[in-house]
Amino acid sequence: MNMLEVKHLKKIYQSRRSSLSIEALSDIELEVQPGEYVAIMGESGSGKSTLLNILATLDQPTSGTVKINGEDLGNVTEKNTAAFRREHLGFVFQDFNLLDTFSVKDNILLPLVLSQEKVSEMMVKVTAVATPLGISDLLEKYPYELSGGQQQRVAVARAIITKPDLLLADEPTGALDSKTTGQLLDVFDQINQQAQTILMVTHSSVTASHAKRVLFIKDGVVCHQLYKGDKTNQEFLETINQTMTVLLAKEG
């Protein structure tokens, strides 16, 4: 069974003031198998965040269906989306979205506290995720005391502590420099090896080159896809760049 199945997804933003409407997504088709690591690439404004927000149940599509683990998101009532997010999804955002009011540890624990887990289990889990991410020394610090890369690793820890079916990431490296980008992507590789399904959107080909499959989104549809196969990151990066040049050239 597919982990994620998207059919004929359309999203139209209706401006409240004018009759102007923007079609951010026209007809998206997408399938993701369990354990896959998929990147969606596209230029700025191509609708990547829109797609991700719909998958994340943070936004509703204009038409089309999204199924996660066989469950149609259209059937999840508004009231239950929060619980659904907590149980099935994990997120990493470009701007980290950590809460200044919480220490690193409490930020990571947030989803577990919301799910009302036992305190003793929480503490076990937090150590279990923090150690491989290399943030176990930072647990008592506050987000404003950390570098961008550290903050993003905390955000990843928060996203995977619930063992989500699907990890969603929107430009996870967008606010990081090249060194910390590399470190974060290593983290993603590592958790993917432990069977974590990952779907991320990015405009950076370097970031995308770490994925096993790359989809290109343009004019509101998925227009192309590449499999990594046995390529190294470097080789895959070149393929991606070539593809992008072709896709851009088509336009001209």
């Binding site: 508004e78 009231k79 997010r85 809460l99 305190v119 404003y144 928060r158």
Partner: protein
């Protein structure tokens, strides 16, 4: 001039942030203007018990000033927080710090001019309107008419010149220590989770404790006004420290309990509140203090108003009281004539012969007449003979020549012996009631002493008031009281007027005195009406201030929390839960200051009680009743204000 233009433009462009600031500054100026006009109103001096009233209102005015200083610094810091980034941007774009200082100086100058103009006008109009309403309420003979006090206005201007200067210095300091690169990066990174300050927590409890202790143990707040003022200052200081440090310490304590802390609603509330306490402690403490002031003011003035009948009955058990020298036949006769003329039925007529109030002072364990030494603790004695006592009470005195019976009319005298000058008497009995005389708390202790016989009484007078100029004190006075049966106000007024005329014509020796209950009633209702009115102006102003702070808080928190709750929703917190957390947070924030105010009020109760005793109101049940009623009434108003502003908050937080 470029910088001036920039300053003016800043004020215009930052409407959303500046408007509440202007509004509150104008409000503070207006509040001070009103209190100064009230305190310096010439009518104040005509009040019965004017001295006490003036002292109390002055105290109120000083607290308003202190509050204004704290609150204006608070609103300024709120503004500053939002503008720091803007300063950084200007700095990066090429305005040097020196130019920034000047720009801020212009801004402060413009703000000062605008708020002063607006505030003085608002204050004057508000005061004028209030006095007009006052006249309507208590009739044409109002003691209070609107009048502008030059000194009062000058004081207001001086206060706000000082406040503006402080604000400017704070702004300049902020510019001085700013690092533009950090500022541009993020406007939130500067906010740190506050540390718990044990020292400050201890300061909070110590100053609250000492303040409370003084407030409770001071018997006569007007006499010990300086000490009492310090008690108030300590409580204010303690309240601010409590909110700033005490609350954080408590929250951190809760945070250390995993089984409490890691429950979803506690988790979010506790950490939010810790973080928030730093910026909002001042606001919450201000609410607590203002609420206390509203409550104390309302409790005092409403008690006075409600207790009017009580006070009248206590002070004037009879319609007419006439005192005249025993041998003053002329006065007696003149009064007789008036009574015959009106043919009014008189009931409950009684009379009593005693000395005048004899002024004495404590010296060691003796009482001596005033002229001998410098006046220290004064005591008034009123002597009467055992025979007279037996006549009016119908009780048998049975006193030997060295025994007396005493009655504490005001204050305490619970010694076994009473030594007047050289004569020592054993107090055989203390009585607790006597016709004509009602116990009341006046600033001077007063003791009625029943002497064994006329000889002893005269001996005391001769030994202590034997000098020529003391002739006045050696006279015996006959006090006559009666009620007038008719209820017709016209007849009563005419009768009272004639009585007064008759007595004033006959006056000899300055002893004849006439006290008419109706007259007192009239003047006291004017006084108390005025007092209630002033109290209501104060109360209203404080309630407005409270509402303003709550509004401020909700807006500032709403903007912050919007981001926070957004993240929480992304991480999987559902809408209902967000609502519940917001609700419980609002409730705690609502409840905390009012709970502290209630505790303050409890400790202020002895003060309220002894103050009202000075005005002749001794009905404790009534005072408790009105105090509780004012508290409940205020809580309802507070709750309504909170509900209204909470709506604004919800709208901000929920997109």
């Amino acid at each position: 001039m470029f910088l001036l233009k920039l300053a003016a433009q800043n004020l215009r462009k930052n409407n959303r942030t500046y408007l509440p600031f202007y509004f509150s500054m104008i409000f503070l100026v207006a509040l001070n203007t009103v209190t100064q006009l009230v305190v310096r109103n010439p009518g104040m001096k005509k009040l019965y018990g004017a001295d006490e009233a003036i002292i109390i209102f002055n105290l109120g005015a000083i607290i308003v000033i202190i509050f204004s200083i704290i609150f204006s610094i608070y609103t300024n810091s709120f503004l500053l927080k939002q503008r720091t980034k803007e300063f950084g941007l200007y700095n990066v774009l090429g305005l040097g710090k020196r130019e920034l200082y000047r720009m801020v100086a212009f801004e402060n100058l413009l703000t000062f001019a605008l708020t002063m103009l607006g505030g003085l006008l608002t204050g004057l109009v508000f005061a004028k309107l209030s006095f007009l309403i006052l006249r309507k309420i208590i009739g044409a003979t109002a003691t209070f008419t609107f009048s502008i006090s030059g000194l009062g206005l000058l004081i207001v201007i001086a206060i706000f010149v000082a406040i503006s200067l402080v604000q400017f210095l704070l702004n300049a300091w902020q510019i001085h220590r700013m690092n533009p690169v950090n500022l541009l990066h993020s406007n939130r990174s500067g906010e740190r989770v506050p540390k718990s300050h044990w020292l400050m927590t201890i300061v909070a409890f110590v100053s609250l404790g000492v303040g409370y202790y003084w407030a409770v143990t001071i018997n006569n707040p007007v006499e010990a006004i300086i000490l009492f003022f310090f008690a108030i200052l300590l409580v204010i200081l303690g309240t601010y420290a409590l909110f700033m440090a005490g609350s954080v310490t408590l929250l951190k304590f809760l945070k250390k309990r995993p089984n409490y802390y890691y429950k979803a609603n506690h988790f979010i509330s506790v950490s939010n509140m810790i973080y928030r306490m730093k910026q909002n402690a001042a606001g919450l403490a201000s609410i607590a203090i203002l609420s206390t002031m509203v409550l104390v003011t309302l409790a005092i003035t409403i008690s006075l108003y409600v207790g009017q009948q009580d006070m009248l009955r206590d002070r004037y058990p009879y319609d007419v009281t006439i005192s005249a020298a025993v041998d003053d036949k002329a006065t007696t006769k003149a009064i007789e004539q008036v009574r015959e003329k009106y043919d009014i039925e008189v009931t409950n007529q009684q009379n009593l012969v005693s000395t005048t109030d004899l002024p004495l002072i404590h010296e060691g364990n003796r009482l001596v007449s005033v002229n001998r030494t410098k006046s220290r603790r004064p005591v008034m004695l009123r002597l009467m003979t055992a025979a007279e006592y037996e006549r009016v009470t119908g009780r048998f005195a049975k006193l030997n020549p060295h025994q007396v019976i005493t009655y504490e009319l005001a204050g305490k005298y619970d010694d076994q012996v009473l030594t007047i000058g050289k004569q020592r008497f054993d107090i055989k009995q203390q009585i607790h009631s006597l016709p004509h005389f009602k116990q009341a708390l006046t600033p001077v202790d007063t003791l009625i002493v029943v002497m064994p016989n006329t000889t002893v009484l005269n001996q005391v007078l001769a030994q202590n008031f034997g000098r020529k100029q003391d002739a006045y004190y050696r006279q015996m006075v006959k006090t006559t009281v009666f009620n007038v049966a008719t209820k017709d106000p016209k007849v009563r007024t005419a009768f009272n007027e004639d009585l007064k005329q008759a007595v004033s014509k006959q006056t000899n020796g300055g002893l004849a005195r006439l006290d008419i209950k109706d007259d007192y009633k009239k003047s006291s209702s004017v006084l108390i009406g005025g007092f209630l009115f002033l109290g209501l102006i104060f109360g209203l102003a404080f309630i407005l201030a409270t509402a303003l702070i709550i509004y401020y808080k909700q807006i500032s928190e709403g903007l912050d929390d919007k981001i926070r709750f957004n993240i929480l929703q992304k991480v999987g917190m559902d809408h209902d839960f967000v609502k519940r957390v917001i609700h419980s947070q609002i409730l705690i924030v609502f409840f905390f200051p009012i709970a502290v105010a209630a505790v303050h009020l409890t400790f202020a109760f002895p003060f309220i009680k002894s103050l009202l005793l000075l005005f002749g109101l001794s009905n404790t049940a009534l005072i408790i009743g009105t105090t509780v009623a004012s508290a409940v009434g205020f809580m309802i108003i507070y709750f309504i204000v909170y509900q209204l502003t909470a709506k604004v908050y919800y709208r901000l937080v929920e997109r």
